[in-house]
């Protein structure tokens, strides 16, 4: 981490009046401490939830799992074990394909702390897999950043088989498939309302 320089004193008119402090004579001429640098190190052993474990194990075999809500069949990916709209346990797992479309995206020109592997600029996008009803963040590559668009169909580019593991890093990025785009009006979170209407008009809530 970079050193934070200590700035000069603020002009007197910008500092609130404090209570005058009467220092004991023996320390009146001692130079005050301007800053204290305290390294803090804390270690945590994170253990994934049951749903996350299932997801990561399947992911190591290039399978993408989502979970289905018992309330209205909505499919969430990655699976969280609960439907966040209502707190109902959602542990039915479903297999999803590794292709979908871009719901939205941005082109980032900043490096991410700890990700020196990412060339800048890079495209991060909300990937909506076919069969899933929410998106998740993923990298889009394999085309110029300027060519990425909402509705663009993509598929996963996986790590080589011998590098797969039960980690979140198995998909290197998502690349365009070249198929016709999903129309913008049907892309991303807009798809759900259309799906509900086609199913006979629930309110989706």
């Amino acid at each position: 981490m970079t050193e934070t320089p200590i700035p000069d004193e603020l002009p007197a008119d910008q500092v609130a009046e404090g209570i005058p402090i009467d220092l004991p004579p023996r320390i009146r001429d001692v130079e005050p401490v301007r800053s204290v640098r305290t390294p803090i190190r804390l270690e945590y052993d994170f253990i994934p939830s049951a749903a996350a474990q299932q997801y990561l194990r399947a992911y190591a075999s290039k399978r993408i799992l989502g979970n289905r809500s018992p309330v209205d069949g909505a499919v969430f990916v990655p699976p969280r074990g609960v439907d966040p709209r209502n707190g109902v346990v959602a542990d039915e797992m479903v297999d999803l394909v590794d292709s979908g479309h871009v719901g939205s995206f941005c082109v980032t020109h900043l490096p991410i702390p700890g990700r020196k592997d990412l060339p800048v600029p890079y495209v991060s996008a909300w990937i909506h897999l076919d069969g899933a009803d929410i998106g998740f963040l993923g990298l889009v590559a394999g085309c110029a950043a300027a060519d990425v668009r909402i509705g663009m169909r993509v598929r996963a580019v996986w790590k080589p088989d011998d590098e797969l593991g039960a980690t979140a890093e198995n998909v290197l990025y998502w690349e365009p498939t070249g198929e016709p785009d999903v129309p913008v009006a049907e892309s991303g979170n807009r798809a759900w309302a259309l799906k509900q209407a086609a199913a006979g008009g629930g309110d989706g809530a």
């Binding site: 204290v36 305290t38 803090i40 804390l42 270690e43 945590y44 052993d45 994170f46 253990i47 994934p48 939830s49 049951a50 996350a52 474990q53 969280r80 074990g81 609960v82 439907d83 966040p84 709209r85 209502n86 707190g87 109902v88 346990v89 809530a205």
Partner: protein, 351 residues
């Protein structure tokens, strides 16, 4: 003051929640507390929770836990980075205004992934004390040393508190440390961990969560046969620096109890959030408890101490017993900060 009562609660505490995330822990607990009185989230007027990012090792850690509540359609909801007892206080205040009649309060903490005693060192003055890394056991031991040397209590007296906790905890599914066989002599023969405190003087650290549902007036009566009415609730804080106050005292606990009207009538039982025997002793002194008041029938925080929830658990344990008819008037207490710096007192009555 508007009549507000605890109408439902749920507690779950274990030694370590291994494959369970905060969300997975809270889903069944929140559902249990709501459905026990036939409520869904749509019936809840205000939701408030307590938790800590530093404990979780994650910034904004409470955001994910909202999944367990069910926050769509949108809800009126807030969060304090404090023990759930203070979240309950905020919910109680909201109910006083009169716009809503029910509130859902929850809090949780998982200490097992990290080192709780080191995490708590980061509560201390960041410029002059925290850099020394006095862990939570050491800080509590300083206070215990002063307490023993003041003559207010002996080592045997502290061991008696530990024994009583272990006896009471027998049969409590949410207690980690329970034994009908514990004796003063037996505990005093164990080695000290942070002199003068032994392992039995320090709380059994637990992972877990707690949910409490509050309701006002006739709504409470319609939801629960014998609501635990909150007759008074207050919290106060003392100075932070360990050297500027008498660590054998907890004036904020006494003041909160006074403001909450604790002494207005006899107390059948109290649940004290004392993470050490020495602190439980100080609290009992500050509250001026009578000989016929049962202290910590659940075993108290010594039997199981879920950081960020232990105070709310005290309220739940006391309320449950009031509603069950085991007590007519009860006091629940919560603490925060080093050496009982901040204290909350809640006085409840059956009708």
């Amino acid at each position: 003051m508007r009549e507000v009562a605890v109408v439902s609660s749920a507690v779950h505490q274990v030694e370590a929640l291994t494959f369970t995330t905060d969300v997975q822990l809270m889903v069944p607990l929140i559902n249990e507390a709501r459905s026990a009185i036939g409520l869904t989230q749509a019936d809840i007027g205000f939701t408030c929770s307590g938790s800590s990012d530093f404990l979780a090792g994650q910034g904004f850690s409470f955001v994910q836990t909202l999944d367990a509540v069910g926050a769509y359609p949108p809800i009126s909801e807030s969060h304090v980075e404090m023990d759930g007892a203070f979240a309950l206080y905020e919910a109680w205040v909201k109910l006083q205004i009169g716009e809503v009649d029910t509130a859902l309060v929850y809090s949780y903490g998982k200490s097992s992934p990290g080192s709780r005693r080191d995490v708590l060192a980061i509560q201390l003055d960041p410029y002059t004390v925290a850099p020394l890394w006095p862990d939570a056991h050491a800080v509590a031991a300083l206070q215990a040393r002063l307490l023993l040397e003041s003559g207010a209590v002996s080592a045997e007296g502290l061991a008696e508190i530990a024994v009583r906790s272990q006896h009471h905890a027998v049969g409590n599914p949410n207690a980690l440390r329970a034994s009908a066989e514990a004796t003063v002599a037996g505990l005093l023969s164990e080695p000290v961990v942070a002199d003068p405190l032994r392992a039995s003087d320090l709380a059994a650290e637990s992972d877990g969560g707690c949910v409490v549902v509050l309701a006002a007036g006739d709504r409470a009566r319609s939801l629960c046969e014998r609501p635990a009415w909150i007759r008074g609730i207050d919290h106060r804080i003392d100075a932070h620096a360990l050297g500027v106050r008498d660590l054998t005292r907890a004036p904020s606990a006494a003041l909160a109890a006074e403001k909450a009207g604790a002494g207005d009538d006899r107390l059948d039982l109290v649940e004290l959030h004392g993470p050490t025997t020495s602190q439980e002793h100080i609290l009992a002194t500050e509250l001026g408890l009578g000989a016929d008041t049962v202290v910590n029938p659940s075993g108290g925080a010594l039997a199981a101490d879920t950081l960020m929830a232990a105070g709310l658990v005290r309220i739940a344990e006391a309320a449950r017993r009031v509603s069950a008819g085991e007590a007519d008037r009860a006091l629940a207490h919560a603490t925060s900060g080093p050496c009982l710096q901040q204290n909350l007192v809640c006085v409840m009555e059956g009708e």
